[in-house]
């Protein structure tokens, strides 16, 4: 301040910052802020940071502030993002390298590379395509359902088959994929690949319609050789993204077929078998050495009828019985106007729980609830049921912040919120949960990476966004808390509720597998912090 300004202020009687009562005011202000911060989810963690971690945290915040003020960094919204530019930033490098713990809401769809999937579909022997209507017009090709399935070689010779692209196609007739490719009317094989990719990724931008491509991918994934090949990629993508354990929500919507077998299996146990085998195979490779594992949260669509849901639950029970290490929980998901509320499904869920108990199977609930404003009352009301039904986690709880009592309840019952900052435009909901001390872990979903093969960095993108977002509290220390939570709430082994809760409570001080993994993660995090302080040493010296 210029000297004459100062003089003028004193003359006017304007209080100065150093005046006792202004100081008093500022002290009151600090204490009010501190009082609030004591409730924050990461209050204790921040006090316990090692010197290296504290330094790394400061450096990362400086990098963030520097990159935020740079005009080229997009402020919000996916349309404007140029990931190519983002990847060149320092913040991206930091996030990419950060050990990310567990991904608790993984999706096989989200982690596969669609181009590669199509390549596999084109070279898999015996794969057929079918549709309930001829795909003879542009419009039909854009909208009519399409299914892939394995079948034994057709009895008719190839040239007698009516093309699926012609009006004469008989509904639901199986056409060898090769035949469909070579006769594709809009540009042969290249055109076919483009068309199929379009169908698989249709609705990718609009989260509400994001599942329109899902049935096609599901049909491909229900054939053993394709499933195996995709799972290998999926595990590799996760490990490359810095994730060491994942729980996949998977909807078993299509009958499974073993390699070279036209008749479908009656259940999904063999699917689980393959999942288990591929996981073990990956863990025996170099890149998979540190990968702790992956499990499946059996997910049933909430749009099905009671009978269909019960049948689906039975299949789940069979799969759990046969491959207990694969199935770790149960969920109901799906959006849209025909989606039923949990309260409507309560009888079925109680029945399921009783069947589990009778059969001695541990299949806890990991419900979707309160996931988006768009689904309004249904999703919001599901929060009450999910909590009362004893869910262990909630995905993604976007509307929880509107419910003071439920927020307390979630804290008391040690329910984790799997928050997906990119699925809805609700990024600002996260700070409201964290400031109240709700336990949260970050999650992606099949919507985040879309179906376009960004899988290998999907989780990095999610964390980068949170770090760069509007939330000034979401720094490296805050993220560390979110990652620690992801490990504490991982369902590594089947446990009865009491054991589950006590292990979460003990955290790193426990004696079982969870405590060990927390210790390992903190060691890795410390190394990572050291790397940050060395790599960006200059950054630290500025502040």
């Amino acid at each position: 301040m210029a000297a004459d300004d100062k003089e003028w202020e004193l003359e006017e009687g304007i209080p100065q910052v150093e005046d006792p009562f202004i100081q008093q005011y500022l002290k009151g202000r600090d204490s009010l802020i501190l009082q609030e911060q004591k409730q924050r989810h990461d209050f204790n963690l921040r006090k316990a940071l090692t010197p290296v971690a504290a330094r790394a945290c400061k450096i990362v915040s400086q990098i963030r502030d520097r990159e935020l003020t740079r005009a080229s960094t997009p402020s919000c919204g996916p349309p404007a993002l140029d990931w190519g530019q983002v990847r060149k930033t320092d913040l991206w490098k930091v996030v990419q390298r950060m050990p990310k713990g567990s991904l608790l809401n993984a999706s096989i769809h989200g982690l596969i590379n669609v181009d590669k999937l199509i390549g596999i579909a084109l070279t898999t022997a015996g794969l057929h395509i079918s549709s309930p209507q001829p795909l003879s017009s542009q419009e039909a090709r854009l909208k009519t359902p399409v299914t892939f399935q394995y079948a034994s070689s057709s009895t008719r010779s190839v040239k007698h088959i009516v093309s699926i692209w012609s009006a004469a196609y008989v509904a639901s007739e199986l056409i060898p994929v090769q035949q469909a490719v070579s006769s594709f009317p809009d540009g042969g094989e290249t055109g076919f690949r483009e068309w199929l990719k379009g169908r698989c990724t249709l609705g990718d931008e609009q989260s509400s319609d994001a599942c329109r491509g899902a049935p096609i991918i599901d049909s491909l994934l229900s054939y053993e050789p394709i499933l195996r090949s995709c799972l290998r990629d999926v595990f590799a993508h996760l490990a490359a993204d810095g994730v060491d354990y994942a729980e996949f929500r998977h909807t078993f919507a299509q009958a499974y077929r073993r390699e070279g077998t036209a008749a479908p299996d009656a259940d999904q146990s063999e699917w689980c078998h393959v999942f288990h085998q591929e996981l073990r195979r990956f863990q025996s490779t170099d890149e998979g050495r540190d990968f702790y594992g992956a499990r499946i949260i059996w997910t049933t669509s909430r749009s099905l009828s009671n009978r269909e849901i019960v049948e689906n639950m039975q299949t789940c029970l069979f799969a759990k019985y046969d491959y207990p290490e694969v199935i770790c929980g149960f969920d109901i998901s799906g959006t849209g106007s025909d989606a039923r509320p949990l309260s409507d499904l309560v009888p079925l869920l109680f029945w399921f729980r009783k069947e589990c108990m009778d059969a001695g199977l541990e299949i806890p609930f990991f419900f979707h609830a309160g996931e988006s404003a768009r689904d309004g009352a249904r999703a919001d009301q599901d929060l009450y049921d999910a909590i009362l039904l004893g869910t262990r986690r909630i995905c993604d709880g976007s509307t929880l912040y509107k419910h003071p009592l439920l927020t307390e309840s979630v804290k008391e019952k040690k329910i984790l919120v799997e928050f997906n900052p990119t699925s809805s435009r609700s990024e600002h909901v996260l700070p409201a949960l964290l400031s109240r001390g709700v336990s949260v872990a970050l999650c992606g979903s099949h919507l985040t990476g879309g179906f376009d093969g960004r899988g290998a960095e999907g989780f990095t993108q999610v964390i980068w966004r949170v770090l760069l977002g509007d939330d000034d509290h979401a720094d490296l220390a805050g993220l560390a808390m979110l990652v620690e939570n992801s490990i504490r709430w991982s369902c590594y082994d089947d446990q009865p509720t009491g054991e589950w809760l006590s292990e979460i409570g003990e955290g790193i001080l426990g004696e079982k597998v969870k405590a060990r993994r927390l210790q390992e993660w903190w060691a890795r995090f410390e190394q990572f912090c050291e790397w940050v302080t060395v790599t960006f040493a200059e950054e630290g010296s500025d502040g």
Binding site: L32, E36, S337, K354, P404
Partner: protein, 587 residues
Amino acid sequence: MHLCKTLVAALSISAVSSAIVFDGEPDVNSSAVQKHLQDRSALITLEKRQRQDHAFRQNLSAVARQADAIVDAIRQYEIDSFWRVPGTVEDEDKERFAGEMFLKAKPLIPDTQLWKIVKRMPKGALLHAHLASMLPYEILLDAVMKTEGMVVTVSQPVTNEIEQKNATLTFAHVNHTIAASGPAIDSTDYVPNTQLPVKYAAQSFTGGSQAFADFVLSKLELQPEDSIRHDLGVDQIWRIFQAAFTPADSMMSYEPILRTFYQQLFAALIDDGINWVEIRASASSGILVHQGDEDADPNLDVYWQVMVEELDKFKQSDKGKNFWGARVIWSDIRSEDRASLTSSMKVALGRKAKFPELISGYDLVGQEDLGRPLSDVAPELVWFREQAERLNLTMPFFFHAGETLGDGNSTDYNLVDAILFNTRRIGHGFSLYKHPQLIDEVITNSIMVEVCPISNEVLRLATDVLHHPLPAMVAHGIATAISNDDPAMLGQDAAGLSYDFYQTIQGFDNIGLAGLGALAQNSLRWANFEDQSDGDWVRDIDLGERGTGIKAQYMQVWNQQWEDFCQWIVNEYGNEWQNATMGMTTA
């Protein structure tokens, strides 16, 4: 039967599964399920007790309960039958849903029954609105066109859309003759900043008066295509928004037009069911141009004198006999430096001394994110408070705070300062729901939040009403009332609260007619009808309609308006929607 079939099929595949034997079928009437459903409704009831509108709901009359149920049924019917329209792959923009972006929904809203009900509702007080942007500009422009001597200037020729967007437009009154000739403002020959009579400027504009009006209005109102571009962020829309104040202020500086403005504004508020208004405004230098003049009168009082005269005139008119009045919350620009802010504060205190009934409090306005944080302004605010006390003037604070997406940034922490400075209400408080401790403070100190749902959406804090934090505030017990902020610029394009009320009831199942009623009643409970000490202010808020002062009187009047309104709903819609009220006791 079916179960066994599945089991047999499964057995043939995986023999191990045979150990599972199913028992019974899901049953809604089983005791465990019934227990869950009881627990569920108990939990919901328990949570709702914490809601700020709980007491209001508990005290609803039988008629109001019926009306609430009827409106609930109408709303649900319209969500399903009017709003829910799926788009198609070819035409995704056909998609329609309840609670969608306001500017997309706006043309459709008047076709609904819910709109007719909301329009008619008694809305109490409008507590958060900025003077220059309270009345649709068609009305002001019409007055400008009809007023002798009004001229327009443009900072550059506007021959295409880009130039139109870049140009600055101002109006003025001149007391000498200006030739109605020369290049039109949209001709390349137009010399920047040349004054043209507005009538001539309109006639010579390509496309004539209508095209001219469209251009002028485009400088004053945010365009739908701008407000839905959430990817461009908050700062970008604020630049467009703030630029609109230049032409708006210039229209309103000429006394005859300003007088017309007030009459039209108050009439429009009464028509919308509003009885009381508190307006954010300021004039720290002489801005009023008297009839027949062209220079502003340096006298700092005349601007407010006009407002008092017009207010009195309106209250004496037939239309205005139920209008309780208007007060002004003096609002300085938060980006001003210490010297100019202090000098504005002096003007404010001077006007308060001259117009004690009109001037009611103090606030700082302008984009909060880019202006000075309240903690930085603390020395001036402490000084201001001391001066007011010394002069025996009651100038409480009604601060804007937390109008931001940030968490932990300086705008967010304005909430802390606002609370510590004993603000009586908080403007927007958009980020408050993230602060458990501050929520407690706000509730304990009876601070109300002035919520502006459409403004927050259009200025890109929430993509649509469904993403607005209002439900979180109500659920946590924070007192709120609905306001419209800048309806002439932000797309409501109507004076009054109907669109903001509509969005609120449409967006949230937990609000309903009763919740909307509670919000309207809150607006009166927290209205600053007269100068009061902090103690009296809080006492009257606590007492509400049971008090003895003017606030209690007005709340009693509103309570009667509300009962009449609910009765009208029952009479009008009761037959058609009788299923909704089945089993309810009649009044």
